[in-house]
């Protein structure tokens, strides 16, 4: 996936041309994959019967007090280290506002002294997005508004499930370094990969364990100052994220082009009509009256703890991409999918066993998707790619052999033999091609007349005649030769 500069060109009334740049900062909330909640011993589990994982603490009953979960801190530290953050002593604050699914009517969060600051996330295209902070906080309960289309204002009544109340979250705040909807999607995908790699979160957007808000603004390309931003909420998939950013940037460019101003607002993305709608303006924004949470003590992880977290980190996706790219001679962006699928170790092992890099990458990217490739013997895979490069197997045949290797293992040469896959001699292939040309004079005429679309027809016919033993590339070459080139 490549991130492009999100620019658009507009003609202003004066006839001059302004190039616009989209500027995006992302706030991602992730539920940490702890056994219990952030401040009590209740189970942290998705999908349980409503209001079964609750106690006086996460219900905010009078007299109850929070006690910080060590595992949540450790997972936040793991994420911080993985994002190259400075992991530092931190404080919890209370963020005060009224909401029916927030039992204490304040959220315990981190404010001006968060646990992780100043990191970055490297995307597959090599771009880096700065991470301002990744702090710990508690989740709220979950409201379901019954009747009136599911929005609170029109609902007949509302149900609240407090199982989610007090579930640990990290909020990861990026710097405004993202320049397009596509790059935002790449950022979220990469962040998810890091969350999974570190074991910090299962990062499922559809279950709400990963939630993304986007701060979007636009400015004339080359400008160093930021435009007025709008925060876009209700982004339930990376697809929504990309669409919402493109829409919102467009909306702002249209306003500015028409000589109007962008007003700082929180806006709600509507997936159905593909637009953003005003939720509240800056003037209506809450004053959260933050102050240090007196029920908790400062969080000061000692050096030994931080060091042990650092030591236990796995190799992260960016490093795995670099490693695989170096080994295969590709660029990191090209091997992103292979790393995402977790097939990089297999490819590296097959390379060590003498495999052919390009064929290995093609198989990993296209032929092993969704396959349980754990049992696949790297040496067998390597042998397969050598047979291909030696012209002993066509691409189609190799794919069939590979499927057999995944399913039951074995020796690729024997499987090929058993399937009757022998390399066709050049003469036999030429004869087959000539036969098909002779049988299809009209199509051949069109081919000779320069109609490239019939190439596929001829290749297909040759494949059929040879029962897939022909090499498509060789057929194409022969066709060109026969056409009198």
């Amino acid at each position: 996936m490549t991130a492009t500069q999100g620019t658009a060109t507009e003609r202003t009334g004066a006839g001059s041309t302004t190039e616009w740049e989209t500027v995006v900062g992302l706030e991602v909330h992730c539920e940490l994959a702890t056994a219990t909640k952030l401040f009590c011993g209740c189970r942290n589990a998705f999908g349980d019967e409503p209001n079964t994982n609750v106690c006086p603490v996460c219900l905010g009953l009078p007299g109850s007090l929070p006690v910080l979960n060590r595992q949540a801190v450790e997972l936040a530290m793991r994420l911080g280290e993985a994002l190259g953050c400075t992991v530092r002593p931190s404080l919890f604050h209370r963020k005060n506002y009224f909401y029916p699914d927030m039992p204490k009517d304040y959220q315990i969060s981190q404010y001006d002294q968060p646990i992780n600051v100043d990191g970055f996330l490297e995307l597959p295209d090599g771009s880096r997005v700065g991470i301002e902070r990744a702090h710990l906080e508690e989740d709220t309960g979950k409201s379901t508004h019954v009747g009136g289309g599911g929005r609170i204002h029109e609902a007949d009544h509302s149900l609240v499930d407090y199982n989610r109340s007090g579930v640990p979250l990290v909020e990861i705040v990026s710097r405004p370094d993202v320049r397009s909807g596509e790059q935002a999607r790449a950022y979220v995908n990469e962040l998810r990969a890091v969350l999974l790699a570190t074991g910090a979160s299962d990062a499922r957007m559809e279950e709400g364990s990963m939630r993304v808000d986007a701060n979007v603004s636009v400015r004339p390309a080359g400008s160093a100052t930021l435009g007025t931003r709008c925060e876009v909420k209700n982004l339930n998939s990376t697809r929504s994220l990309g669409r919402a950013i493109e829409y919102e940037a467009r909306r702002q460019i249209d306003l500015l082009t028409a000589g109007e101003r962008v007003v700082q607002q929180t806006r709600h993305w509507d997936e159905a009509d593909g637009r953003t709608h005003v939720l509240r303006s800056k003037e209506e924004a809450f004053d959260y009256r933050y102050f240090p949470e007196p029920d908790l003590v400062p969080l000061v992880p000692d050096d030994a703890w931080r060091e042990s977290v650092r030591q236990s980190l796995p190799v992260l996706p960016a490093e795995r991409r670099r490693r695989l790219a170096t080994a295969t001679g590709a660029v990191p962006g090209e091997v992103a999918v292979v790393v995402e699928r977790g097939l990089d170790e297999l490819v590296l092992a097959a390379l060590d066993a003498g495999g052919e890099a390009q064929r290995l990458l093609v198989h990993a990217e296209h032929d092993l998707a969704g396959e349980p490739a754990d049992a696949l013997d790297p040496a067998a895979l390597a042998a397969l790619t050598r047979m291909e490069v030696a012209g002993q197997l066509t691409a189609t045949q190799a794919k069939a052999v590979l499927a057999e290797l995944v399913a039951s293992g074995g020796d690729p040469a024997e499987i090929a033999r058993a399937k009757g896959f022998e390399a066709m001699g050049d003469d036999a292939l030429a004869a087959a091609v000539d036969e098909i040309i002779a049988a299809n004079p009209d199509a051949w005429g069109r081919y000779q007349g320069g109609d490239a679309k019939v190439t596929g027809f001829f290749v297909g016919q040759v494949m059929k005649a040879t029962r897939g033993r022909a090499d498509g590339k060789a057929v194409t070459r022969l066709l060109r030769e026969r056409a009198g080139a």
Binding site: P62, P66, V67, N96, D105, Y290, P294, D295
Partner: protein
């Protein structure tokens, strides 16, 4: 004031453990006194008579079976009604929690029960512990057993009055700005605010979390020590709880103050302190000197700013702590068309005027644009107070000052003047801001014949010498009483 029908708490416990007295009889005797006089005093909001009887019978069965029910076996305890009691109403003297029954016991309640004590009822307080006279209760004021035209102090006025009237040998209160010590002083009983973090706050309905501390009210220093030994000690459910076990206090109680350096805080003996109260503090200093302490004047300059800092910090925390009473999950709900309107209607109907005043003050001082000028500055003053106390404790082992500026004032005298009411906590507030322990001991009477309390202050975790000094003062008073009444 009626005769106390019972022995001291420790004596009751000893008799019950030895099988010489039945816990059920002890409970019945106290319930009889309560029935006789609490109509007049109104110390209790809820009597736990059934609970108490059945608990007492359980203790008697254990004694009969040869078991030891614990150091407070069979001792009735009056619980301030902001301490959570499983299944028993816990109202904080507020309409907003009028019918709320907690599903859990506060840690102190569990520890009391584990030590064989018998919770006998829930006592009146100023709503959410905000006040100094117990007149801010939604369920009517408590009266001072020494003079029913006078207030018992507050906010733990119910527990202090209960102990003073002999309704219970022991009481628990909470102290945010003097709410144990001030009523103890006005009711003539011993009241202790332990070091912040010594007693778990789990299950104490929060007023101002960084200042709140639970502590004992008792007729004697030894009983207060016995109660503190039971409720203190680390609790994993309270993150601000100090690691380590409860201190041993009774073992060293009789060791006196010989050689201890005691400072009398000059800043708390001047303007605003009634001459008769000042005279009692000076007499207490003399008594400590007579017992061998080196007594000198001490200066803690920043205590003068304590009241101002307190009335920024405590309301700020309260405004947040009391946000949860929104009508959504428990307590009062006043129906309205929208959730927001329901929140407002519920809180308007459920909170009394003083609570509303403090929520508004607290919300204001935390508001963006005002935080630094008010809350931020108050925290700096708090740091100054901590520093000044620390400096004083380089020279002194203990400090002495009045508990209250005056003896108990008449009901209604300060209700319409919040500032005058706030001033009655001027001597107690500094210890909450510093987090250090303090004890109020009855030390004679004022010109009006009402009790005067003297405070002994100690550095953090200095409870043992603090209790020793309190015991010396108590002993000196007993001696003086033997020579004739001090009134």
């Amino acid at each position: 004031m009626g005769e106390r029908p019972n022995l001291a708490a420790t004596e009751i416990a000893a008799a019950v453990r030895a099988g010489e007295r039945r816990a059920a009889d002890v409970v019945d005797e106290h319930l009889a006194v309560i029935r006789e006089r609490d109509g007049e005093i109104h110390a209790f909001l809820t009597l736990m008579d059934e609970h108490a009887r059945s608990a007492a019978e359980g203790i008697d069965r254990r004694v009969a079976a040869g078991e030891d029910p614990g150091p407070l076996a069979g001792v009735p305890v009056a619980l301030k009604d902001n301490l959570c009691t499983r299944g028993v109403p816990t109202t904080c003297s507020s309409r907003i929690l009028e019918h709320w029954r907690p599903p859990y016991d506060a840690t102190v309640v569990s520890r009391l029960v584990a030590a064989g004590a018998v919770p006998i009822g829930k006592t009146n307080l100023d709503e959410f512990a905000m006040g100094s006279s117990t007149e801010n209760s939604a369920f009517g004021p408590t009266r001072n057993p020494h003079d029913t035209g006078r207030v018992p102090g507050g906010s733990s006025g119910g527990s202090a009055a209960a102990v003073a009237a002999g309704f219970a040998p022991l009481g628990l209160g909470s102290d945010t700005g003097g709410s144990i010590r001030q009523p103890a002083g006005l009711c003539g009983v011993v009241g202790v605010k332990p070091t912040y973090g010594m007693v778990s706050r789990y299950g104490l309905v929060a007023f101002a979390s960084s200042l709140d501390q639970i502590g004992p009210l008792a007729p004697t220093v030894a009983d207060a020590a016995a109660l503190l030994e039971v409720i203190a000690g680390h609790d994993p459910l309270d993150s601000t709880s100090i690691p380590g076990p409860a201190p041993a206090l009774r073992a060293s109680l009789d060791q006196g103050v010989d050689g201890l350096r005691v400072g009398v805080i000059t800043e708390l003996l001047g303007e605003g302190i009634a001459p008769d109260v000042r005279a009692r503090v000076e007499a207490a200093a003399d008594a400590l000197a007579a017992a061998g302490a080196k007594v000198e004047e001490a200066s803690v300059p920043a205590v003068g700013f304590g009241l101002s800092a307190y009335y920024l910090i405590a309301p700020a925390e309260a405004s947040s702590n009391l946000a949860r009473y929104d009508g959504v999950r428990y307590g009062l709900r006043v129906e309205a068309p929208t959730t927001g309107a329901m929140n407002v209607a519920t809180r308007t109907a459920g909170f009394g005027p003083e609570v509303k005043r403090r929520i508004m003050m607290g919300s204001f001082v935390l508001s963006s644009g005002y935080y630094d000028a008010y809350y931020g500055k108050a925290q700096k003053v708090r740091t100054l107070i901590i520093r000044d106390f620390a400096a004083a404790y380089e020279t002194f082992d203990l400090l002495v000052c009045p508990t209250t500026p005056t003896t108990a004032f008449p009901l209604g005298a300060k209700v319409s003047d919040p500032l005058a009411m706030y001033l009655s906590d001027v001597c107690t507030i500094p210890s909450n801001l510093s987090g250090d322990p303090a004890i109020s001991v009855p030390f004679g009477r004022g010109d009006d014949g009402l009790p005067v309390g003297v405070q002994v202050l100690a550095p953090a975790l200095g409870e043992a010498p603090m209790f020793r000094a309190a015991a010396v003062l108590e002993h000196a008073m007993a001696g003086a009483a033997g020579e004739g009444p001090s009134r």
